[in-house]
């Protein structure tokens, strides 16, 4: 793939004796809306942290936009936006102060930062609480602000860890439209979510990680083709996910064990 935005080679991460991510080879083309799925504890957040510089890999390589992350960290970071796990907000700043801070950290000049900050706050419907510090925002508002901060510098790759969690339906609709427009303009979006319907609706390509190993990767059509569904009906992403992750029996909880609760 010549226009690959994200490439990993044998990306591995160990925490002591635990192999959290095991030799992952990912390829995401520029402009793709890419969904990264997996059950709890599969290694999704660890992978996204390694892709965004929050965690050093034990071994393997990360290449973003053709640049090796470890040797060109600053140049790479300039071109990516991140909504990390926990959102990474400075909770004692106001929304506007935080966006101004992030804009300046990405090297935008003051006037541009200010203008983008106002537009983003307006778009995210956060402009009417100028004096509130982020700690007083609701979870959904914090999520919207983290998204605004991730896009303020116009990144070429956007990493989103559960971006719609806690966001109201109205704002989620606007955000999806925004993200869709960004991919049309060539921005690559790497998204993790537990809501498979959202991933199915937004993403053109999907990878599934299970117990630290990449167990599936491809376009939705490719994955559907590999999974047998009911006749006459298109296989859903949930069915694909369950058929892949539940193959060894460890993905699906055994209801028989909780008979006393039924």
């Amino acid at each position: 793939m010549t226009d690959a935005a994200i490439v990993t080679e044998k990306l591995t991460r160990r925490f002591g004796g635990l192999l959290a991510v095991d030799s992952i080879d990912l390829q995401v083309a520029a402009g793709q809306f890419f969904g990264f799925l997996g059950p709890n504890g599969a290694g999704k957040s660890t992978t996204i942290k390694m892709l965004t510089g929050l965690l050093a890999p034990t071994s393997g390589r990360v290449q973003l936009l053709g640049l090796d992350f470890s040797s060109h960290a600053v140049e790479v970071k300039r071109q990516i936006g991140v909504v990390p796990e926990g959102m990474g907000l400075f909770e004692r700043l106001t929304g506007s102060e935080y966006l101004n801070f992030v804009g300046r950290m990405y090297g935008l000049d003051r006037a541009t930062t200010r203008q983008r900050c106002e537009e983003l706050l307006e778009f995210m419907q956060l402009a009417d609480r100028p004096k509130s510090v982020i700690a007083d925002y609701s979870h959904g508002m914090q999520k919207k602000l983290a998204l605004a901060a991730a896009v303020i510098h116009g990144p070429r790759i956007l990493f989103l860890d559960e971006p719609f969690e806690g966001v109201d339906a109205l704002a989620a609709g606007a955000l999806k439209a925004l993200l869709g427009r960004m991919t049309e303009r060539g921005v690559t979006i790497f998204l993790t979510s537990h809501v498979l319907e959202i991933v199915e609706r937004l993403c053109s390509h999907v990878a599934i990680i299970h117990k630290g190993r990449l167990v599936a990767q491809g376009s939705l059509e490719e994955l559907r083709a590999g999974t047998a569904g009911e006749q006459g009906r298109q296989t859903t992403l949930e069915e694909i996910f369950l058929s892949i992750v539940g193959q060894d029996g460890s993905g699906r909880p055994q209801m028989e064990e909780l008979s006393w609760l039924m």
Binding site: A56, I80, F90, V102, G107, R110, A127, P130, K131, S138
Partner: protein, 551 residues
């Protein structure tokens, strides 16, 4: 569903809660970064035990002497000191120590009675309770040795006194919990507490200055006014038992029982309110929609334009964090206040501690050293308030040196803001030292601050500890960083003192100034040279940093 939860007895519930607290403590100590805290805990335990055992002998001897000789006034002193210790120390612990949120137990199926008893049982399980119990038992032993017949009466008094103390302490604690739940109230109480602590220090200079001829006998005149209070009642009951005054004994015991009844009822009402689901937190009120404002004047001029955008952004962010952190802001009042206090105690024409004022040649450098000692400590945990925001520093396209530089610049600004008015105050109250000592001291300040920034940045990156904004409870840096800060400050103070005295010994007044200017220049050069190395340290330590601060 057939097998619903079985109703547990209060004793089982208390035991379960005790086990829970023990497991929380044990698991905290098992964490890698807490091993050294365990050493600190053991040391604290040894010192506390020594204090308790030593004072137990004193209480035993005091009671024995007063009962044997009929000097019952001493008993008043003993009971009052235990009472004050028992009531005041838990407030400190509630304010500053780590504490278990006992109200969280409300989600379990506890009856109000069980909740009340579990809450009361908590009052017997902390250090002040155990220490005061030891001292009361020592008093009982002293009274028993003096007169064995007194023991039944003594035990009755002590049981009532312990119950009264516990109910009152829990009552104060539960009210404090309610008050401290709100950040603004917490900050106000903390500010009031700090100012009160410092103001108390001014009492002696004020008495010395205004009330010449006052004696301890004056204070004794106030004792009768204390007689209706529980410690006086306990003391009077013991004295009455020793001197065979049955009516006085019964009245005093009845008084103690009445206090227990009143405090117990008020505590019941407080716990009942909590049991019903009293909201203590700060639920965000719906915000009023504010009118949009045009870009303000602040946007037109960049006051930090000499700095790179990233460093300027960090400085601005640090300033905003400081201006919103009530505790830290109020603690900035302390250094000038303490300078004022010390000038009246040790310096000037009328020192209250020393007969002759300390020379400004020594006093000025001493005060500057003290200020640096106080003000540099937070630099050893400079990421404490970042929380999850720390991730932004690692996802943004910058070298970590910019973050450290921004933080250190802001800290240096705070130091200047504190030191300049202190110098002016010193100059006004006791005068400035000679020019060589003045120059040497200022150069020494530069050396001490810049030199410490390098070590403090490394310590902040290597041994971070998250602190909660606007909270007093459990807020302390990691044990390792505190010990390193302590060691470095002793070392720097030692070096500076040696150089200052070298000027005196060699009779070369400008020698210290020259030496400090050289050291300050070397420290500044070393600081900038170390920033890149510290960036590498940040990269290596980022996982620990993120894990600790995002917890």
């Amino acid at each position: 569903m057939a097998d619903v939860a079985v109703k547990l007895g209060v004793a089982t519930q208390i035991r379960l809660v005790a086990q829970l607290r023990w497991r929380i403590l044990r698991n905290n100590l098992r964490r890698k970064n807490s091993r050294l805290d365990l050493v600190g805990l053991i040391w604290a335990g040894i010192f506390s035990s020594a204090l308790v055992i030593g004072l137990s002998f004193a209480f035993c001897w005091g009671t024995y002497t007063s009962v044997s000789n009929g000097h019952f006034g001493w008993l008043l002193l003993l009971f009052w000191s235990i009472f004050l210790f028992r009531q005041i120390v838990p407030i400190f612990i509630a304010g500053f120590g780590a504490s278990f949120e006992f109200r969280t137990l409300l989600r379990f199926p506890l009856s109000l009675t069980a909740f009340y008893l579990v809450g009361l049982a908590y009052g017997f399980a902390d250090f002040p309770a155990i220490a005061s119990l030891c001292w009361l038992l020592a008093m009982a032993a002293g009274a028993g040795i003096s007169s064995p017949n007194l023991l039944p009466a003594v035990f009755l008094i002590l049981v009532l006194f312990v119950l009264m103390n516990t109910t009152l302490e829990r009552l104060i604690g539960s009210w404090l919990e309610r008050l401290l739940a709100r950040r603004r109230t917490r900050e106000l109480i903390f500010g009031f507490f700090i100012l009160l602590s410092v103001s108390i220090q001014f009492i002696r200079p004020a008495i010395t200055h205004y009330a010449t001829g006052s004696s301890p006998a004056t204070a004794l005149r106030f004792l009768p006014y204390l007689s209706p209070f529980p410690p006086s009642l306990a003391s009077r009951a013991l004295a009455a038992a020793a001197s065979g005054q049955d009516l006085s004994f019964l009245l005093s015991v009845a008084g103690l029982v009445a206090y227990i009844g009143v405090f117990g009822t008020l505590l019941w009402l407080r716990f009942a309110a909590q049991y019903r689901g009293e909201e203590l937190g700060e639920a965000a009120a719906p915000a009023r929609v504010a009118p949009r404002t045009a870009v303000g004047a602040e946007g037109a001029r960049d006051t930090l334009r000499l700095l790179s955008p990233q460093v300027a952004a960090v400085v601005r962010k640090e300033f905003r964090y400081l201006s919103r952190n009530g505790f830290v802001l109020m603690s900035l009042l302390l250094p000038p206040l303490l300078v004022l206090l010390f000038t009246s105690q040790f310096g000037g024409k009328h020192p209250t501690v020393t007969h002759r004022g300390v020379s400004t040649e020594l006093f000025f450098p001493g005060m500057m050293g003290y200020l640096i000692l106080m003000l540099m400590t937070p630099a050893y945990n400079c990421f404490a308030y970042e929380g999850r925001g720390i991730q932004t520093y690692f996802t943004a396209p910058l070298r970590f040196r910019d973050v450290l530089l921004g933080k250190n610049l802001m800290h240096a600004g705070v130091l200047a803001f504190e030191i300049v008015p202190s110098i002016i105050m010193l100059a006004l109250r006791i005068g400035l030292p000679s020019t060589p000592v003045f120059v040497a001291t200022i150069a020494a300040v530069f050396f001490a601050v810049t030199g410490q920034f390098v070590i403090a940045d490394w310590v902040s990156l290597s041994f971070p500890r998250k602190l909660e904004f606007g909270s007093m409870r459990g807020q302390r840096s990691s044990g390792v960083s505190m010990w390193i800060a302590f060691g470095v400050q002793i070392l720097v103070t030692g070096i500076c003192s040696l150089i200052l005295f070298a000027g005196r010994w060699t009779n070369s007044p400008w020698l210290p100034a020259e030496a400090f200017i050289g050291l300050a220049a070397a420290a500044v050069a070393g600081y900038f040279a170390a920033l890149d190395a510290l960036s590498d340290v940040a990269e290596k330590k980022k996982e620990v940093l993120i894990e600790t601060l995002c917890r």
